[in-house]
Amino acid sequence: MADVLAIAGVDCFYGEVQVLHGLGLTLKQGEVHCLLGRNGAGKTTTLKAIMGLVPARAGSIRLGGTELTVLPAHEVPKAGVAYVPQGRRLFAEMTVAENIEIGLMTRRKGQATRERVLELFPVLRERFRQRSGTLSGGEQQMLAMARALCLEPEVLLLDEPTEGLMPSMIARIRETVASLRSTGVSTILVEQRVDAVLSLADRVTFIENGRSRETVEVERLRGDPSLIKRYVGVG
């Protein structure tokens, strides 16, 4: 299948500290691609680099024919990349409706998109006028995903979407990611829970010390978890 997103040789810095060293990976059309690695390996930074929130000093990030590294950060989502940040980062003082509205404004989507997104997460409709900071953790995560899906993105970046949620909610989030795959959305998923990765991902890239070490099909990991042990230290 065709690559929707191709990352090659990306260097990123926080101040003078280099956190990504020539990182590269490709995202295929309609796949769920997992980033696995220890804390501080550079998974979140990779997502932020794609969004332009941490500037790439070298390398290229191409979405179809568009080079994202030269765009200002606020143009990246308009090109079709949606981001669900770690810790959800909702606009907590705003209502559910306003958070959705900000998502819709990004790529000028309208009523039809909103209806589609709310069908995925019906509970948000009941909470529509509520302040988003008062939602439960799971509802907040749904809202964060809904807000991102309002872009009707080609590429979805999910940073630990199941962190701190109860099991039933984790299952809901997983189902959603799987059903998005069936609609053709390509997803990069940062996830710590190995069981979630094994059940959900198509391919896995291991990240260590800011470098992408290996990309493997998930079947290989199901049969042979030694790689997980080596790069993540569990399993």
Partner: protein, 293 residues
């Protein structure tokens, strides 16, 4: 004059102060709320608004109302453009770092002030009020223009509230205020929002100045006192809270009017400053501000 009418007069004077103060403090509060910039030059935008109002009104002949309305329309636009340029040329290059922007806006304060002294001079000059109608109470007559300041300010505050809470521009401003990085991830051009908010804050100060200049005259040092009062209002009301700003402006303005009339202006300032100290000790987020998350 008997106590009752005297109190009414003092309250009216206080309300006029409140009206102007609320507009100006709102500008300061917006800039701090959205950009986290403590704009020490805010008082100079106020002064610049007044000086420009005099200049524009002096260019226009005919009925005073024409000159005044021209000033009310044009002066805030020029001040907004100056603030926009200051944001692009100075604040953005400092990456909006809190300490650096304080020093930079102090510099801006002196630049604007000295430019005003150079080109406008040390005189205090009035702008004619657009109308001179006096409302006659049984005990005293009162300037209709002063009452119109209160009404205009109230309208502008309602308008600002409407823009902030009911329009997409307001939504974008609030999103930038709450989480700059996430706002960018949703296509919000944070840099442009900052420049716009800085200009808007300065324009609110300039409008306040144009409204007050028929009463107080334009002078190149007139910015200091309103700046201090604005800080007092913003601290008491709570940063970023429009309601808090209005309530605190009413509190400070009216108490200033009443205490100045019955005791002394100095006592009014002492009490206002004491109120700031008490608020900072017992409720640092301000009366209506929300606590830091």
């Amino acid at each position: 004059m008997a106590f009752g009418p005297h109190l009414l007069l003092a309250t009216l004077e206080g309300l006029v102060t409140s009206a102007v103060l609320a507009l100006m403090a709102l500008g300061l509060s917006l800039v701090f709320g959205v950009m986290r910039v403590v704009n020490v030059a805010h008082g100079e935008f106020f002064m610049l608004g007044a000086v420009l109002a005099w200049w524009i009104a002096s260019l226009v002949s005919g009925h005073p109302a024409i000159g005044f309305l021209a000033a009310l329309a044009i002066s805030p636009l020029i001040v907004g453009a100056v603030a926009f340029a200051a944001d692009r040329l100075v604040l953005r290059r400092l990456n909006y770092e809190p300490e650096a922007t304080i020093v930079a806006t102090i510099g801006l304060l002196y630049i604007i002030q000295q430019l005003a002294l150079t080109f406008y001079g040390p005189q205090a000059r009035p702008v004619d009020a657009p109308f001179t109608y006096r409302i006659l109470f049984p005990w005293f007559g009162y300037s209709g223009y002063k009452l119109s300041i209160i009404a205009t300010s109230a309208l502008l505050l309602i308008f600002t509230w409407f823009v902030l809470t009911r329009t997409r521009i307001g939504l974008v401003m609030r999103a930038t205020q709450y989480d700059r990085e996430t706002a960018q991830a949703f296509g919000i051009p944070v840099g442009r929002v900052y420049a716009g908010v800085f200009a808007l804050g300065a324009m609110l100060a300039a409008i306040a100045a144009v409204l007050i200049v028929p009463i107080t005259q334009a002078h190149y040092l007139m910015g200091l006192n309103p700046l201090l009062l604005s800080f007092i209002v913003v601290i008491i009301g709570g940063l970023g809270s429009l309601r808090g700003t209005v309530v605190a402006a009413l509190l400070i303005g009216v108490s200033d009017g009443v205490i100045s009339a019955f005791f002394s202006p100095t006592l009014a300032k002492i009490i206002a400053t004491l109120a700031v100290a008490m608020v900072l000790v017992f409720r640092p987020q301000g009366l209506f501000g929300s606590a830091a998350k």
